[in-house]
């Protein structure tokens, strides 16, 4: 299923590459000991090195190297034992050194692959070109003063992992799936929290279009700093459309950097004068090349958790989940962990349904993450267990669930306290059935007279009379026996 833009002169396809900047989870910055934590007051986490004071020198944060290697392994990528930090030189007020320490010719991670799962249930492999480490820049705030910009250097020097994909994506959906998968992987690995709203993960989207059938790539445009999956997809849509229009009107798409404006639903050229930067890359003479010791990578590999693709395959093979269900569960590390705890000893499919339909629905309504779920995984599992051993019916279970959301109590306690145990004693049910039949002779005649559907009404009455606790299956059986003989 391909994504085609139907233009006036024919069909166009979209070629997409993504550069994702992911802030690595570390205590300190890439080359300084200042804290990398988020949310501090402006310029609170700035060391002498971050402020580029005279005579200051960078020292590599070993944890950053570990996180990059870890992420590289999660991307099934080649880890380079030798890599070099280079200076990317340009002037801007939020770049204290006048250069960003990055990696250019020799990145720490080489080619890899990310498998994306699409809505139609199919999967595709998207190539990763490389991952390299670099410093983040500080923040410029332009709206606090009419004539001046304010600079906050807290973020200056924080560890960024830049993950560059190959231009393998062909639709907004694929791009969205790629970002989601990347986020899941780094969250599983604990190398990045993937929080796009807070800016710990952001995407530069490279978009070009070409006529279907063309093999060469046309000029691409970079849409910078897109900070949500939805915006990534929207930006691609509108930018591709814009480019098609330009080509069809006989113009040429200009290679430039643009920003996505979600309010207007369009991309626009960046305000600052963007002439092609000559970054004058050269190896940073203050740093030695990074050489990984033998065994370093293997050591990290041995500590990797089960990643989404592996977990999905296992859930499908061992628990019989569908690709779709397994995909939903593994998409988020916390969800997967929740599921595995809840499903232990219970029917996987039932747990899946309760999780993805009932719990997700409730959490969404309350604006909560699964980490904040008032219903614990263990309790959800117990609830399913109570249905499985017929202590309660599915219908009653729904009520119990609502209660669990409110009180966080165990389902067992709630059933006890409210006396919700299903009535399965045939004698007890029979007594209620008999009573209801006696109380409703007209309807009974109706059923005996041929209106079998009216049994449903009787079932309802019996359930009401039993406060919903009668086992519906048995009720049905008994009614049929008594009314239809």
């Amino acid at each position: 299923m391909s994504y085609i833009i139907q233009g006036e002169t024919g069909d166009w396809e979209v070629v997409i590459g993504l550069e994702v900047h992911a802030q690595a989870i570390t205590n300190a910055k890439l080359f300084s000991g200042a804290s990398a934590s988020f949310g501090s007051a402006p310029n609170e986490n700035v060391s002498l090195v971050d402020a580029a004071m005279p005579g200051m020198l960078p020292v590599i944060n070993k944890k950053a190297i570990e996180q990059a290697v870890r992420t590289g392994l999660g991307l099934r990528a080649q880890i380079n034992d030798y890599s070099v930090f280079e200076r990317k030189n340009y002037f801007y007020a939020d770049l204290p050194q006048g250069y960003q320490i990055s990696q250019y010719l020799h990145p720490i991670v080489g080619e890899g692959t990310v498998t994306i799962d699409l809505e139609d249930g199919t999967s595709r492999d998207i190539g990763v070109e490389r991952l390299h480490l670099e410093q983040d820049a500080g923040k410029s705030v332009h709206d606090q003063d009419p004539k001046r910009s304010m600079i906050d250097l807290n973020r200056s020097g924080v560890v960024l992992m830049e993950i560059v994909s190959k231009p393998d994506m062909r639709s907004p959906e694929e791009a969205g799936a790629y970002v989601r998968k990347l986020r899941a992987i780094v969250r599983y690995l604990g190398t990045c929290d993937g929080n796009m709203e807070e800016g710990s993960m952001r995407a530069d989207v490279n978009v070009s279009v070409r006529k279907v059938g063309e093999s060469d790539l046309r000029t691409r445009v970079e849409v910078k700093n897109v900070n949500s999956v939805r915006f990534v997809m929207q930006a691609i849509e509108v930018e591709a459309e814009r480019q098609v229009e330009v080509w069809e009107e006989g113009g040429e798409v200009v290679q430039e950097t643009r920003l996505f404006d979600p309010n207007k639903g369009e991309t626009r050229a960046m305000r600052t004068k963007e002439f092609a930067h000559d970054y004058r890359y050269f190896p940073d003479p203050d740093l030695l090349p990074v050489k990984l010791e033998p065994g370093f990578v293997d050591e990290i590999r041995s500590t990797l958790p089960e990643l989404p693709d592996e977990k999905k395959a296992r859930l499908m093979a061992d628990l019989g989940l569908s690709a779709y269900d397994a995909g939903v569960i593994v998409a988020d590390r916390d969800t997967a962990a929740y599921f595995e705890e809840a499903a232990e000893g219970h029917d996987a499919k039932t747990v899946t349904n309760w999780l993805t339909t009932n719990l997700f629905g409730a959490l969404n309504r309350r604006g909560l993450d699964i980490g904040d779920s008032p219903v614990s995984a263990r309790h959800l599992g117990e609830l399913v267990g109570l249905i499985e051993d017929e202590t309660i019916s599915t219908k009653i279970a729904k009520d119990v669930f609502e209660d669990m959301l409110e009180t966080s109590k165990s389902p067992g306690d709630i059933v006890e306290e409210k006396g919700l145990k299903q009535i399965t004693d045939t004698g007890a049910i029979e007594a209620i059935v008999d009573q209801v039949i006696v109380d409703n002779p007209g309807q009974a005649e109706d059923v005996r007279g041929g209106n079998e559907k009216a049994i449903g009404w009787f079932v309802g009455q019996v359930m009401k009379a039993s406060q919903g606790k009668a086992n519906p299956g048995q009720v049905n059986q008994l009614l049929r026996a008594k009314l239809l003989g």
Binding site: L48, G98, F282
Partner: protein
């Protein structure tokens, strides 16, 4: 009379109680004041000096003297960031910059008890070989004849440091050497100037010029003093990723003045076309001395020597252009306001940097720029490897190399000043050892016809400072210097 003091003599006298640090310091403070015409200091720090001198005496009285540097008054090149004391790098752009931190090397000296008399003058951002580019005015070589119309230059970039020591204002001084900025001014003023192996001294807190070349080192009256001072300056610093993670040998103990059995290499490519006779004569004299003292001398070849200067003048400016990008008026230092960020940058840096600095930043930017990077910077780094390899090959055969330090004696301000290239040639003998990161020292060898000092340079292999001090102490003795 401050001129007679060496570190060794002072340490001896202090230990014996013949003099106190306060007395020594007061005498030198007075000398600093009397010697202001040299313009050796950008910032004098007499209060700090007196404080530290008093503290030194108190330590000594309590039996806790820190070592031979304890109580010795020195000058600190104004490239070392000193906490609470203005540090300018001789530039308008840092004219009022007061660091909140102390460089590792100056901190080491402070901890060793050395007494800082002040921050000595230098070429702006250490770029120069005559100390004529300082925003705070040029430095006068104390050997300038009375009644001369212009001043003799002291050499550079550590011109203020050598003027202070040679003028008797300080017993010793720190310098930094990137392409010869310790050795060449030492040669111009009859002092000993030593550049250790790259990485021996920490660069943390030293205003950076060219990261892969910069190296702090001592400027002293004797070889033994240089060894003593280096011992306190050097050492591994984890805050500097290029710092050598190695223990220091005992440099002073290596000053044995005995070169019997040593093999001294004479690199033939150091004989320049049109080399002044006096330089050649001095060099020949040095060779003869070595032979007389029992060393074997042999000609060696360093075939890529002639590419060293051009290589240096590509690599150093390139690194400098990047290192100086931080002086932008945003966070500290001079800011000349503008209507836009770019305008502010242009005005600040245009006004804040002197001509030579601007020249080197432009050269550096050019050689790193797209389309030229491979032809210039990459090529220069490749040639640098060849130059280093030349030395390695030579040191497979010999223990030490002997060369002149500079192609002339000190010249007068005004000579050579119009032609930056002529100025760059001052470094022709010192630059190769810088590119290779090797330890090198300049020792006073003799004088020219006008009585101006000429230095001889010794170079040894990586981390071979002991052999260097051994040879240097002997050469000094042969030339009539030292103890």
């Amino acid at each position: 009379m401050t001129n007679k003091w060496t570190i060794a003599a002072a340490a001896d006298a202090l230990e014996k109680g013949e003099v106190s640090s306060v007395e020594l310091t007061d005498a030198h403070i007075a000398a600093v004041e009397a010697g202001r015409s040299l313009n050796a200091f950008i910032t004098e720090t007499p209060e700090i000096a007196r404080e530290r001198a008093a503290a030194s005496d108190a330590r000594r009285a309590a039996g806790e003297a820190a070592g031979p540097m304890d109580g010795v008054p020195i000058a600190m090149k104004d490239l070392f960031c000193t906490e609470g004391v203005r540090t300018t790098a001789a530039s308008h752009i840092l004219e009022n910059f007061v660091p909140t931190y102390e460089s590792t090397v100056s901190g080491n000296l402070r901890d060793a008890g050395a007494v800082m008399l002040g921050k000595s003058n230098l070429d702006e951002f250490a770029m120069g070989s005559a100390n004529i580019t300082s925003y705070f005015g040029s430095v006068k070589n104390p050997l300038t004849p009375d009644g001369a119309n212009t001043n003799l230059v002291p050499g550079g970039s550590s011109g203020g440091s050598v003027a202070a020591v040679a003028g008797g204002l300080a017993i010793a001084a720190t310098g930094t050497d990137t392409g010869g900025s310790i050795r060449q001014p030492a040669s111009f003023t009859g002092l000993v100037g030593m550049k250790p192996t790259y990485g021996r001294c920490s660069r943390w807190g030293v205003v950076a010029f060219a990261s892969s070349l910069d190296q702090p080192g001592p400027l002293t009256k004797t070889v033994e003093d240089a060894a003593i001072m280096l011992q306190s300056m050097a050492g591994y610093d984890p805050k500097d990723s290029t710092s050598l993670p190695m223990d220091l040998p005992d440099f002073r103990a290596a000053c044995t003045r005995d070169v019997k059995g040593m093999k001294v290499g004479i690199p033939k490519e150091y004989t320049l076309d049109g080399m002044p006779d006096e330089i050649q004569k001095l060099w020949d004299q040095g060779v003869a001395w070595m032979k007389d003292m029992g060393a074997e001398t042999v000609e060696v070849s360093l075939p890529h020597t002639k590419y060293a200067l051009p290589t240096y003048y590509i690599v150093a400016p390139a690194e400098a252009s990047s290192n100086l990008a931080r002086y932008d008026g945003v966070r500290y230092g001079l800011r000349v306001p503008g209507d836009s960020l770019d305008e502010m940058y242009e005005l600040t840096r245009g006004e804040g940097f002197g001509e030579e600095v601007q020249r080197r930043v432009l050269i550096g930017t050019y050689v790193l720029s797209a389309g030229y990077y491979d032809a210039y910077y990459v090529k220069a780094q490749q040639v640098r490897t060849l130059i280093a390899r030349d030395f390695q090959n030579a040191f497979a055969d010999v223990d030490v190399l002997l060369t002149p330090t500079a192609p002339s004696a000190a010249f007068y301000e005004g000579e050579k000043m119009d032609d930056p290239i002529a100025m760059y040639l001052n470094d022709v003998f010192t630059v190769p050892a810088s590119l290779a990161g090797l330890p090198a020292i300049s020792v006073p060898g003799g004088t020219d016809a006008d009585g101006l000092p000429l230095g001889l340079q010794l170079i040894t292999g990586v981390c071979q400072e002991e052999a260097l001090f051994r040879a240097a102490s002997a050469l000094e003795m042969a030339a009539g210097g030292g103890r």
